[in-house]
C-alpha cells in the first residue's frame, strides 16, 4: 500500500467582501488558516463560511468540476474552486492568498457575481444544434468517431466563466464575445449535423468576433476542463476562410498579408503588411512611422531582406496551400 503524507501549512487569506444591498464599497477580510495538502480551494470557502462568518456567500453545487458554479479568482487567477488544489495555489502564489470573485466589478455578494454579460454573449452564438431533424426517425442519427473528433473537446466546456473573466479583451471591449462563447460557437460549427448559417458570420463580425482576440493564451491557461478556447478561436478563423464567410477587412487582410509577404520574400515585409492590411487607412500610421524612420526602424523597399533558398519556400507554398481568399 502506498503511503501518502498529508502536510499542513499556514496561509493568510485576504477575502473580498461586498454586499451590493448594504455596502457602499467592497472591503477585504483577513483570515489565517492551517491548510492541508489535501484541500481544494472550495474547502477554504466552506471553512470561511462554517468556521468564521456564516454570512460569507459563494456559489457551489456539484463539487465535482461539472456544474461550473464555483469559479472565483485566487490572486487574480481564475480558478474552479472545487477542482483547484490548494497545493497548486501555494506553489503559484505563496502563502499570502487573495480570494476574489471572477469580476469585482460585477460582484453582487462576496464571491457571487452577476454573470449576465457572460450568458448574453453565450446566447449570441446560437449555442445549440440547428438542424432539420426528422421528428420520427426510423434509425439513429449516427456521427462517426472521426466526425466527433472534430469537436476537439469543445463540448467539455462547463460555462464556469473562468476564461471569460480572465480575458483582457473582454475587460476592455464590452462587445467582445469572449473565449467561452467562441468555444461554444466552435462546438456547433464543427458538428456535421449543424446547418446554422448565422453563427459563423456573427463570430466574424468586427469588435464582437474572433478577430479582436489578442492571442494572449490566458484562456488556455485557466480553463479547468482543458478546452483550450484559443485553439477553437484559431479554428474559427480558419473556418471563416474555408467556408467563404471571411469579410475583406483589415483583420482578414492582416492574416492573408502574411501569406503574400512570405510568398514574395520568405520573410515578412513589415511595411508592406501594414499597407496591404490597412489600404488607404495607412495614413493614420504616418506619425508613428515617421518617428520610427528617424530612428532607423523602417526598412526601405529596396533594402528589404529575403530568405535564402526562396525558391524552396515558393515551391512549398504552391504545393502545400489549402486555402484561397
Amino acid at each position: 500500500m502506498s503511503t501518502h503524507t498529508i502536510t499542513t501549512q499556514k496561509v493568510n487569506f485576504k477575502v473580498f467582501r461586498f454586499n451590493a444591498e448594504d455596502d457602499y464599497l467592497p472591503y477585504y477580510e483577513n483570515y489565517s488558516m492551517d491548510v492541508t495538502s489535501e484541500e481544494v480551494v472550495l474547502d477554504i470557502l466552506n471553512r470561511i463560511k462554517w468556521d468564521h462568518d456564516g454570512s460569507f456567500s459563494y456559489r457551489r453545487s456539484c463539487r465535482h468540476g461539472i456544474c461550473g458554479a464555483c469559479a472565483i479568482k485566487v490572486n487574480g487567477r481564475s480558478t474552479l474552486a472545487c477542482k483547484e488544489s490548494m497545493t497548486t495555489m501555494i506553489e503559484y502564489f505563496g502563502n499570502e492568498l487573495t480570494i476574489e470573485p471572477l469580476s469585482t466589478k460585477r460582484a453582487v455578494k462576496d464571491m457571487i457575481i452577476d454573470k449576465a454579460d457572460f450568458w448574453d454573449k453565450h446566447a449570441k452564438v446560437n449555442p445549440y444544434l440547428v438542424a432539420d431533424i426528422d421528428e420520427a426517425p426510423t434509425c439513429e442519427n449516427l456521427v462517426s468517431p472521426h466526425e466527433a473528433e472534430e469537436l476537439d473537446e469543445a463540448d467539455l466546456c462547463i460555462q464556469c466563466g473562468a476564461c471569460h473573466y480572465a480575458c483582457p479583451v473582454v475587460e476592455i471591449n464590452e462587445d467582445f464575445f469572449g473565449p467561452a462563447a467562441f468555444a461554444a460557437a466552435y462546438r456547433f460549427e464543427s458538428d456535421v449535423r449543424d446547418s446554422d448559417a448565422d453563427r459563423l458570420i456573427a463570430v466574424n463580425e468586427e469588435k464582437q468576433g474572433v478577430w479582436d482576440c489578442a492571442k494572449c493564451f490566458e484562456c488556455a491557461e485557466v480553463c479547468p476542463k482543458d478546452v483550450n478556447p484559443i485553439s477553437k478561436i484559431t479554428k474559427l478563423h480558419q473556418m471563416a476562410f474555408k467556408k467563404g464567410v471571411a469579410k475583406n477587412n483589415v483583420a482578414t487582410r492582416h492574416a492573408v498579408g502574411f501569406f503574400h509577404s512570405i510568398k514574395k520574400r520568405g520573410v515578412l515585409d513589415e511595411g508592406g503588411l501594414v499597407l496591404y492590411s490597412e489600404g488607404p487607412s495607412i495614413v493614420k500610421h504616418i506619425p508613428v512611422a515617421l518617428q520610427m524612420f528617424r530612428k532607423g526602424k523602417i526598412t526601405m523597399p529596396w533594402n528589404m531582406p529575403k530568405s535564402d533558398n526562396l525558391d524552396e519556400i515558393q515551391k512549398l507554398i504552391k504545393s502545400s496551400s489549402t486555402v484561397k481568399f
Binding site: K215, E218, Q238, E270
Partner: protein, 293 residues
C-alpha cells in the same frame, strides 16, 4: 566550459523594425562566447496570423525552418516570443502526431528536406539562463545596473501555454509569477520591479484591427511599471518592445494618462551590464529615448 553553439532564428523584426535587437544579440553572444549560426534560409514563422489563414501551410514552413537547424545538428534559439510560440508549437504538434508529421515531410521532400524532430527550440533568454548560467553572468558584470529599478515584461508567448514552455525549456516558468527575467535583472545588478502587468499582454497582435484595445493594454503595462517606480522596462520579445517603445503616445491617449518609459531588449540590458557600448547595442534606435546612459 564547452563553447555554446546554437542555430539562430532571427525572426523578421530583428532585420527590420528592431535592428537594435539584432545588434545587441550579436554583441551579447560575443561577450558570452556563444556561437550563433544564423538560419538565413528561414522564412517568417507566420506570427500566428498565417496560422489563422492556412494551418497546414504554416506547419510546413515552420517545419522547414526547424529542418535547417537539424541539418546543423543544433538547438534552435529564437529571439522573439512569437517566433518561439509558433516554432515550438509546430514541433509539439509534429512530434506528437506521426500522421501529420508524415504529411508535412511529404511536402518537405519536394525540396529535399526532412523534419526529424531532433533539434530543440528554445528562446535565447532561457538558453542564457539554462545553458550559460546566471551565476556566470553575475561574475562577468562590469557595470552593475545597481541604480535602476527595472520592470520585467515577459510577453505572453514565452510563458503561455505553460505546457509548451515547460516542454521547450529546462527551467519551468510559473505563468502567474514568472521569475527568469527578474533573476536576470538581479544578475545584472539591477533592482527588479514587481507589478501586476509583468505577465500580461501588450496588445501587439491586434494593433491593426483593434487599436483601442491594443493601446489600453500597452498603456496599462507602462502605467503599472511606472506606479511601482520603474526607471525602465525590459523584455525578451521584440513585438512587445515595438508596442511599448513606439506606441506610448497612443497608449497614453487610450488610458487618459501620460505614460512613457524607456524599454530595453533583454539583450541590451545584459550588454550594458557586461560593458558593451551604447553604439554596439543600438540604443539610438529607440523611439522612447534611452536617456539614462
Amino acid at each position: 566550459m564547452k563553447k555554446l553553439k546554437y542555430a539562430l532564428f532571427t525572426g523578421c523584426t530583428a532585420k527590420q523594425s528592431t535592428p537594435e535587437q539584432m545588434m545587441s544579440t550579436m554583441a551579447v553572444a560575443r561577450k558570452l562566447n556563444i556561437e550563433l549560426i544564423e538560419l538565413t534560409e528561414a522564412s517568417c514563422c507566420g506570427a500566428s496570423h498565417l496560422q489563422d489563414y492556412d494551418d497546414f501551410l504554416s506547419l510546413v514552413l515552420n517545419a522547414r525552418n526547424i529542418a535547417y537547424a537539424e541539418k546543423h545538428e543544433l538547438t534552435m534559439v529564437t529571439i522573439c516570443n512569437t517566433c518561439q510560440l509558433n516554432t515550438a508549437m509546430t514541433k509539439h504538434r509534429l512530434d506528437n502526431n506521426a500522421e501529420l508529421k508524415a504529411r508535412v515531410n511529404e511536402k518537405l521532400a519536394e525540396v529535399g528536406l526532412e523534419y526529424k524532430g531532433t533539434s530543440l527550440v528554445t528562446h535565447f533568454l532561457y538558453a542564457i539562463i539554462d545553458d550559460f548560467g546566471l551565476d556566470k553572468i553575475k561574475e562577468m558584470v562590469v557595470k552593475p545596473l545597481s541604480q535602476f529599478n527595472i520592470a520585467p515584461f515577459y510577453g505572453c508567448h514565452n510563458i503561455r501555454p505553460s505546457e509548451l514552455h515547460n516542454e521547450s525549456h529546462k527551467t519551468a516558468e510559473n505563468p502567474y509569477n514568472p521569475t527568469s527575467l527578474d533573476d536576470l535583472i538581479i544578475a545584472c545588478g539591477g533592482k527588479n520591479v514587481e507589478y501586476e502587468q509583468k505577465n500580461k499582454c501588450c496588445g501587439f497582435h491586434i494593433e491593426l484591427q483593434a487599436p483601442h484595445t491594443a493601446a489600453v493594454l500597452t498603456g496599462n503595462a507602462i502605467a503599472g511599471a511606472t506606479d511601482q517606480n520603474a526607471d525602465m522596462m525590459v523584455t525578451p520579445c521584440p513585438l512587445c518592445h515595438l508596442k511599448l517603445d513606439t506606441q506610448a503616445h497612443h497608449a497614453s491617449k487610450a488610458i487618459g494618462r501620460e505614460v512613457s518609459l524607456p524599454v530595453l531588449h533583454m539583450q541590451q540590458m545584459i550588454g550594458l551590464a557586461l560593458g558593451c557600448t551604447p553604439a554596439e547595442l543600438g540604443l539610438k534606435h529607440h523611439v522612447t529615448e534611452v536617456n539614462f546612459i
